[in-house]
């Protein structure tokens, strides 16, 4: 019998899928912001941003979904 709130558990998602999604999101954001004239397309916006974005969303996917 459980009394009070049960402990929160995180169920991991798929980090590699998260990485791919982050790269895609980063590239899309880079293109849109370039079209808005806010920045130029260079190695920072076309390579560094998508890769770091990939790692960020891979981390989020690894963290996963909370359950209680």
């Amino acid at each position: 019998m459980t009394i009070g709130n049960s402990p929160r558990k995180w169920a991991s998602g798929r980090p590699f899928a998260g990485f791919r999604a982050g790269v895609l999101l980063g590239l899309g954001a880079a293109l849109i912001i370039h079209q808005l004239g806010w920045w130029v397309l260079d190695i920072n916006t076309l390579v560094v941003l998508p890769v770091l974005s990939g790692f960020l969303l891979a981390g989020r996917a690894w963290l996963g979904q909370p359950y209680r």
Binding site: G18, H34, V48, L52
Partner: protein, 217 residues
């Protein structure tokens, strides 16, 4: 957790405010240069030179005083920065001041419409100048690049949401797999995690895109 979002938002806004500072451009080495009567210093990212295919550009330049007197030869090379530098034009000149009419090179009009950084070097015997300016290649209000970017961003966001969900059948909790009645998803907690991720993404965009030239590479 919610309190952590406030400094995150403040830092993001401050970094976005740094845009004009991070994207400043200049001419170094004592030279001067103009294009269509605009000093390169004035062609920043917010006020780029608008170019279209077939445009004729009036270029002028002067060598630094340190170049001396007599016959002075100079060689100017111009690049557009994308991933690496793409050569656009080469110009040789003689004399303290030079000028020329140049048609917009085809390589520029083959790029997607938008703002680009153009860099140049001018050198002669014992002197070197560098300069940069921003140009805007005209396109329509809705370009193919905009559409591709929007599709990629939406697809990426949807895939990111899907990637967070646990694998089918994964046993993650002693009560049983998701949906078995052993545990229930905590939507508010997930929302906080998603908002924090979104804030970090915005921070990443600000850091890499706007402060990046001095921060990353």
């Amino acid at each position: 957790m919610k309190r952590a979002l406030i400094p995150l938002a403040v830092v993001t806004v401050v970094l976005i405010g740094l845009v004009p500072m991070a994207q400043a451009q200049e001419v170094t080495g004592g030279c001067s240069a103009t294009v269509n009567d605009h000093n390169l210093d004035t062609l920043d990212i917010k006020h780029p030179l608008i170019v279209e295919k077939g445009d004729i550009l009036a270029l002028t330049g002067s060598v630094p005083a340190s170049a001396g007197t007599g016959t002075i030869y100079s060689e100017t090379k111009i690049y557009v920065e994308v991933i690496g530098d793409i050569p656009v034009a080469e110009q040789t000149g003689d004399g303290v001041i030079w000028g020329d009419w140049v048609e917009v090179p085809d390589v520029l009009t083959q790029l997607a419409p938008g703002v680009y950084k153009v860099k140049g070097t001018a050198e002669g015997s014992g002197w070197l100048c560098t300069g940069s300016a921003y140009i805007k290649i005209e396109g329509g209000p809705l370009t193919a690049a905009t559409a591709i970017g929007a599709v990629a961003a939406v697809a990426g966001a949807a895939a990111a949401v899907a990637a967070v969900k646990p694998k089918h059948g994964q046993v993650f909790y002693e009560g049983g797999p998701p949906g078995s009645g052993g545990a229930t998803p905590e939507t508010p907690t997930r929302l906080v995690a998603d908002v924090v991720t979104l804030g970090l993404f915005a921070l990443l965009v600000a850091l890499v895109g706007f402060v990046g030239p001095s921060w990353v590479l």
